[in-house]
Subunit: 352 residues, 2 copies
């Protein structure tokens, strides 16, 4: 690791911002995308951090990701909005929706914003920490109507994406940051193992006739296999229900989704904010959540070498360490960004 | 089956209402509890229908379930309320919260009501059909802070309930009705198998040292075992995240939960309503959901004898049949209600 460059995270944000600006991206959008991507790396989600910088820049070059302009407000009620993202960058749109739903929740108690035709939204966990530290509960659901890799329970033909769900829950200390999918695993993990010729640790997939398998090569078969729902064979009807909820709150509320058969890489996104002050108060909320957090952290572990953690605990520890000592990128990402820097003649920041 | 009585469902509702009224329950509350219990049986959830009539009547006799009075509004913002249920019947409180959150959602787009100190709320699926047919999305979360049978991921000591989640999603035809828990199985199913000396079809439990097992006898051990989270060993961190979300939206928003260590059988409940008209419109919503429903129903099945269904499809078919031809109760429930009728001298309705 000593040969790998170490960066102050804010210098990577500034650098990535410059690359987007050089492609004609508005400064505010460029900075928003760059900070969400670096936040993904800080939290240890290195498949969804600066690894996406190259793909995002290419989508701008191809005219699919729009570097300027704003979203259309399709519908506006006090506690509900629908935006048409028009292919603008997903990190900027999603961060905007977190801020605006949070502001409305502080007034009304709760608010929900759904965004159709957003660009890809990167790492969902990257949006959570700041609003949770402000005392808000945030839920983000996302689906990509141009992709399908998950079948309905009992079926064999892909009809859904893994449909990520991210949730921020305040406590009086570090917030709980949840970032999961409604299937057992994700498209990203499947692609990574497939490219490495590796298998999953369990039969997390189904082949095209519905037989459980650990082999991601089933995605190359014709017809292809699918990713099992959360709950698998025993309780996959529960993952199925959650998958349908995410589809309803994204494509359903957006009135734009799989029925339109879109082909551009993108996302339909729901952001929902809830303010505990509008219910029993943040102090009482924190009292309950602190009690639960302690009941988890103090829980006797199955394996004494793996103490029980709270969701987000590891990511926040990685981030704290990187802010103090600098960030070392995944080697593949380091190679990618060095290549991008050489192509664009915008030099990488100094290693510390 | 021919020897079992067959009832018109509405006659069972009238009969059960009379039993609650005879215990001093306000008519409106009595009728609300009775119709929710019978709705559970109609949908095939026979552990959470009239099976609960005897237990509910006993809780009234014991002074734990309150037959009269109303809830306190602890907090009231446009799109958020907290009620203190004061031990009133959960079916009445929950049905009220569905109606009131729905009315606010029709105006504001979304609204959320959390209820602390509710009585037990019976079958969560029983609240869903009517609002979904009105075009609303309803989510109901529930936890019981007096009970724990599920450990955090990687832990061995029970800290949570199975935390049910019910979701109603409109389509232009029958609604999608989801009723799941954030653990692999429920307390009710564990108790049923344990009393019958049976085992689960898979290793859905953990013993007190965290070893997977199919034997519900682990709940009698000291220390007791736990129910595995949705996702089990492979993906239980996802069920863990969902469990924490339910705890946050119930006990957290209520500022009343496990930290207070309550001992009375009851529930903390969240009801959230979302109106598609406030986003992309119900017509567009139905267009998307109909497309998804068809993609599911038309999906090639793993087992040709088990076609892919939508959540709630079987329950609604059972209900339709019972409304047309009459309802035959689970034999154990039939025995229970015959006993209750003889004790109270309020005769059971005529069999048809």
């Amino acid at each position: 690791m000593s040969s790998q460059p170490i960066y102050w995270p804010h210098t990577l944000v500034t650098w990535a911002t410059s690359l987007f600006e050089a492609r004609g991206t508005d400064l505010e959008k460029a900075a928003s995308i760059a900070s969400i991507l670096v936040e993904g790396d800080l939290l240890g989600h290195d498949t969804h951090g600066l690894a996406l910088l190259g793909p995002y820049l290419r989508k701008i070059d191809e005219g699919i990701l729009k570097p300027t302009g704003t979203y259309d407000v399709v519908s506006d009620r006090p506690a509900a909005m629908l935006w048409d993202g028009g292919g603008l960058p997903g990190p900027w749109l999603t961060a905007e929706a977190v801020t605006q739903s949070g502001n409305r929740a502080k007034e009304l108690g709760t608010a929900t914003i759904t965004i159709r035709r957003s660009g890809h939204i990167a790492c969902l966990a990257a949006y959570l920490e700041a609003p949770a530290r402000e005392g808000l509960i945030i839920e983000i659901f996302s689906s990509d109507p141009s992709v399908a890799s998950v079948a309905p329970f009992g079926g064999t033909r892909a009809a859904f994406t893994p449909n990520p769900v991210a949730i921020a829950i305040p406590t009086s200390g570090d917030p709980i940051l949840i970032d999961i999918s409604t299937s057992i695993t994700t498209n990203g993990m499947s692609a990574r193992l497939q490219s490495q010729g590796k298998r999953f640790p369990g039969n997390w997939l189904l082949d095209a006739s519905g037989r459980p398998t650990d082999d991601p090569a089933v995605f190359d078969a014709d017809p292809p296999g699918t990713i099992q729902l959360l709950g698998g064979r025993d309780a996959g009807h529960k993952g199925y229900g959650l998958t349908l909820l995410v589809e309803a709150m994204t494509g359903g509320l957006a009135a734009y989704g799989r029925a339109e058969n879109p082909t551009d890489w993108g996302a339909t996104v729901m952001v929902r904010a809830t303010d505990p002050e509008a219910f029993g108060g943040l102090t009482g909320f924190n009292h309950e959540l602190d009690w639960l957090a302690n009941a988890c952290r103090g829980n006797p572990a199955i394996d004494a070498s793996s103490p029980v953690r709270l969701p987000g605990e590891r990511g926040l520890a990685l981030k704290r360490d990187a802010l103090e000592h600098g960030l070392v990128l995944n080697p593949a990402v380091q190679t990618d960004i060095a290549q991008l820097a050489s192509e664009t003649s915008i030099a990488l920041p100094q290693s510390i």
